[in-house]
Assembly symmetry: C2
Homo-oligomer: 206 residues x 2
C-alpha cells in the first residue's frame, strides 16, 4: 500500500487524496504540521523531499515522489484520468502547469495567509494581497473560459487536469475570491463532487 505524506488543509495534498479515492486505491495518510516545520527536518529533507514540502507519495518499496502534478500523472497513467491521445495529454499538462504557475500562487497563497498562517500577516504579505486577488481572478477567468460549453477541461470525462484545478478553486472563497461571476466553474465544481469516491478536503479518515 502506498503512503501519502500530507497536510490536511493542503489543496495540493487533497488533489492526490482525490486521485487515490477516485481510483479506489487504498493508501495510508501520514500527516505533518507544516506550521511547526515538520517537513523541514533533516530526516524529511533526506528521505522524503529535498524541497521540504508535502505532498509526497511513498511507494511500497520506499521510493518517494514529490510534487502533486507528478504524483497525479504517475497515479493516473493507464487510467481514463490520463488520456492516451498525445494532444489531449498535452492539454492536460497545459492546465496543470497553468494551475501551478498562475492559480496556486495567487489563490492558495491568499487562502493560506488568511486562514492557516498563525500570528497575522507581515507587512509584505499585506501589501501583496491586492495583486494576488487580481491575479487569482485573472486565473479564474482563464479557467472559466476553458469550461465554457464543456463539462470537463480535456476530452469527454474528468482527468487529472480537472482534479489539479479543482484542488484550490473549490476553496477559493476562503481566500476571498467570490465565485458568483463564474457559472461554468460553479457547475464544474458540483460535477466533480459527484465522482464516486469524492471526499471533502477536511476528511482525515478513509
Amino acid at each position: 500500500m502506498v503512503t501519502l505524506h500530507d497536510f490536511l488543509p493542503s489543496g495540493n495534498g487533497f488533489k492526490c487524496r482525490l486521485m487515490l479515492r477516485f481510483l479506489n486505491r487504498p493508501f495510508r495518510l501520514r500527516l505533518y504540521d507544516i506550521l511547526k516545520g515538520e517537513t523541514r527536518t533533516a530526516e524529511f529533507l533526506k528521505t522524503r523531499n529535498s524541497n521540504g514540502r508535502i505532498p509526497v507519495l511513498e511507494l511500497e518499496d520506499g521510493r518517494c515522489l514529490p510534487e502533486s502534478g507528478a504524483i497525479l500523472h504517475y497515479l493516473a497513467a493507464g487510467t481514463p484520468f490520463l488520456p492516451e491521445d498525445p494532444w489531449d495529454r498535452a492539454q492536460v499538462l497545459r492546465w496543470m502547469f497553468f494551475e501551478q504557475y498562475n492559480l496556486e500562487p495567487t489563490i492558495a497563497v491568499r487562502r493560506f495567509w488568511l486562514t492557516e498562517q498563525e500570528g497575522g500577516l507581515t507587512d509584505l504579505q499585506e501589501a501583496q494581497l491586492p495583486a494576488k486577488l487580481e491575479g487569482g481572478h485573472a486565473a479564474l477567468k482563464v479557467l472559466e473560459g476553458g469550461l465554457t460549453g464543456r463539462d470537463w477541461l480535456v476530452g469527454g470525462g474528468p482527468t487529472i487536469a480537472d482534479i489539479a484545478l479543482y484542488g484550490y478553486t473549490h476553496v477559493a472563497p476562503e481566500g476571498g475570491y467570490d465565485l458568483s461571476a463564474y457559472p461554468g466553474i460553479r457547475a464544474w465544481i458540483s460535477r466533480l463532487q459527484q465522482i464516486p469516491g469524492y471526499v471533502p478536503i477536511t476528511q482525515r479518515d478513509f
Copy 2:
C-alpha cells in the same frame, strides 16, 4: 513546420527553442514584445493563449499549445528526452513542476525585474527582492542536490527535465544569483551546452 510564438529573452521560450534544436526539428519563430502588451491583444487571447503568455507552440494545422512544460513534454514524446519508464517519467515531471513553482517565480522574476522591465521597480517589487533572492537560492540548493554525483537529473542522459531547469538557471546571475557555490550546477550547465544543436538564448536566427 511548427511555429513557436515567443519572446527572445524568455527562458520559458528558450526551453522550447532548445528542444526543437536538439531534436533537429525546423520551426518558425514569431516574436512578440511582451513589454508592449503584444500577447494581451484580443486576437492573441482568442487564437493563441487565453492566458496571454508566450511560449505557444502552433502546429501545422493551427492548433495552439501554451505552457513551456506542456510543449516540452509534447515535443519530446517518443524521443530519448522523455524516458519511457514510468518512474523516470514521474521524476522528469517532478523536476519540471518544481521549476515552475520554486525556481521560475524567484530567479526568472528577479531577472525580469532587473534586466527587462522598463521604468524601474515598483515599491512592492523592491520589497520582494530579498525574499526572491532567498527563495531562488533555496531552489538552487535543491537543484544542486539533484545533480550531486549525477550528470543529468533523471537517468543517464539529458531529458526535458534538464532543459526545463537549465532555461533560467544558466542566466540566474542576471537576476543577482551567484552560482559559485554550486559546482554541480556549473558543470551541468557546461555539459548541456555541449549537446549538438545548442544555441544561446539571445539567438534570433536559425
